[in-house]
């Protein structure tokens, strides 16, 4: 396979790039003998084949994967906050997750955008139907967070697959967001001196800035494959969306954890925590990137 052929097919390009990155990262870890870094890397050996495998299988498989992961991640959120003891609210959020992904799959942008409205209205009916007031504001509010972050925002990962411009958008935002998280951690460990937020005490100014610079550089390097028709200012904005948006998502869910008094959302991903701990950045970067690209550069069904 030639370089040009690879460059014209984002899925092949990113699959090869991912394998190379993982191999290089494994080599570096073996060389540096960083304690505790093998466990999260081993988890990536499972996550990446599942995610890329679903993309190779096609839009249906990818959409099903996004829906299942969204439901399981919301379950974590509901268990952490205690919302899970309110099955009616939980069922409605699950319904919103399924509906969002179905309409992302069929390319009905109008319905995709309308579902959060209908879901919130349905949630508003729950206290009325149950004829209860105690705790209802809390459950209602947490359910709205569920609809927005787990149904609407995460379903943009399904929606990005529907772009007529190919899989470059989706692969870019998915892999760069995850790389941004990893780089913040690695740079923070290596060079971090100054903490910048009490919400997530492990975040350092050095880690965040260096990760941001690396992501922007990588965005320019892969722009010809991921989004070839986007001008340099748009490429810069895409890089900023990933690196800033990723931190916003991370801190938003860190805030939930601090309020609930837990360390992680779960244990399903050794070395990472729960699914929400891995998806929190994507919850912000996926919709922010999709709407930025869709509004300025098109490519999505309307």
């Amino acid at each position: 396979m030639g370089t040009e052929e690879l460059a014209s097919d984002p899925l092949r390009f990113y699959t090869v790039a991912t394998v190379v990155t993982v191999v290089v990262a494994s080599g570096l870890l073996a060389l540096l003998k960083l304690p505790g870094a093998w466990i999260p890397l081993r988890t990536w050996f499972v996550i990446l084949p599942i995610a890329l495998g679903a993309m190779w299988l096609g839009q249906g498989a990818w959409t099903v994967l996004v829906a299942i992961v969204s439901i399981l991640a919301f379950k974590e959120f509901a268990r952490v906050t205690g919302l899970y003891r309110q099955p009616l609210f939980v069922f409605l959020v699950y319904g919103a997750v399924v509906a969002e992904n179905v309409f992302a799959f069929v390319g009905r942008y109008d319905v995709f955008m309308a579902i959060p409205t209908w879901a919130v209205l349905a949630l508003a009916l729950v206290p009325i139907v149950l004829r209860r007031t105690e705790g209802m504001l809390q459950w209602f509010a947490l359910s709205i967070v569920g609809v927005v972050f787990y149904a609407y925002f995460l379903a943009h990962l399904s929606y990005l697959y529907a772009s007529s411009l190919g899989l470059g958008y989706l692969l870019f935002v998915l892999l760069m967001t995850q790389l941004n998280d990893a780089l913040q951690f690695i740079y923070g460990k290596a060079f971090g001196r100054h903490r910048w937020t009490p919400i997530s005490p492990n975040k350092t100014i050095e880690g965040s800035l260096l990760a941001g610079a690396t992501i922007i550089l990588l965005t320019f390097l892969q722009a010809p494959i991921a989004f070839p028709s986007v001008p340099p200012l748009g490429v810069l904005a895409a890089g900023l969306i990933v690196t800033i948006g990723g931190q916003v998502g991370d801190l938003t869910m860190a805030n939930v954890k601090r309020n609930a008094g837990v360390k992680d959302f779960g244990t399903i991903l050794p070395g990472h925590g729960g699914l929400t701990d891995r998806l929190n950045s994507l919850m912000v970067t996926a919709p922010a990137f999709a709407h930025f690209m869709g509004y300025l550069f098109g490519g999505f069904p309307t």
Binding site: T81, G82, R85, V90, F91, N259, G261, V262, D264
Partner: protein, 237 residues
């Protein structure tokens, strides 16, 4: 400013791996697992009835809480009792199963929990576990437990243990005798032998089942109603 602060109440099992979560009692509400368990026990009972000729003698009493105490000779015993009961009773049952055998790994824990309604009993720390159950049992108003007082398929004689704790806590004890399961899936065999005859006999609740007399009364019932195949020592666990 007045108002109510949000109060978060995370589930207590957030940090537990799946196998431990499946084995815990009391169970935490879980829409997925509860649904899977409802489907799993129906599927398992239906499959069991297709595989074996099951004969039910007597009936379990319709009490809000009770403890079923059968003899234990085969892996089929739990499924035989679940298949012998109507769904309205089956759904109430919690089976106590050895943590070291069923709940060390997720696949085994899933099978035991979803098809067999099992939770974990820690045989390795029996005294502490008995104390925990002794505190827990008086608070439980509804539910059926199924446990094997002999503790193992290789043991015939019941011992008081958790059975005694249940009796002391005022739980009605219903003796159950199983016949034919040892022949249908003998200890040490990799697979069961289909189409065998299995008989499940439900006794009357033991009146005044004191912990001291319980083993003898259970043994008498099992000997009267079950074909008790003594398992040769040295067979597979």
């Amino acid at each position: 400013m007045s108002g109510t602060r949000f109060e978060y109440e995370p589930f207590p099992d957030l940090d537990l791996p799946l196998a431990a979560r499946l084995g815990q009692f009391p169970r935490q509400p879980d829409l997925f697992l509860d649904t899977a368990r409802a489907l799993g026990r129906r599927a398992a009972a239906g499959f069991f009835r297709l595989q074996f000729r099951i004969e039910v003698v007597g009936a379990a009493p319709d009490l809000p809480r009770l403890a079923l105490m059968p003899n234990h000779q085969s892996h089929l015993d739990t499924m035989a009792i679940l298949a012998a009961l109507p769904e309205r009773y089956r759904r109430r049952i919690t089976v106590l199963a050895a943590r070291d055998y069923f709940f060390e790994r997720a696949p085994g824990a899933l099978a035991a929990n979803l098809f067999g309604q099992a939770v974990a009993f820690d045989r390795g720390a029996e005294l502490a576990e008995l104390r925990r159950w002794a505190r827990l049992l008086p608070e439980i108003r509804e539910g059926w437990f199924l446990l094997y007082p002999s503790g193992s398929r290789k043991r015939l004689e019941p011992h008081a243990g958790l059975a005694g704790v249940l009796a002391r806590s005022g739980w009605p004890v219903v003796p159950v005798a199983l016949a034919g399961t040892a022949d249908a899936w003998p200890v040490g065999h990799a697979l069961w032998r289909p189409f065998r005859r299995i008989r499940v006999t439900f006794g009357e609740p033991l009146a005044d089942a004191t912990a001291r007399r319980l083993p003898a009364e259970l043994l008498a019932f099992w000997e009267a109603h079950g074909r008790l195949d003594r398992i040769a020592e040295g067979d597979a666990p």
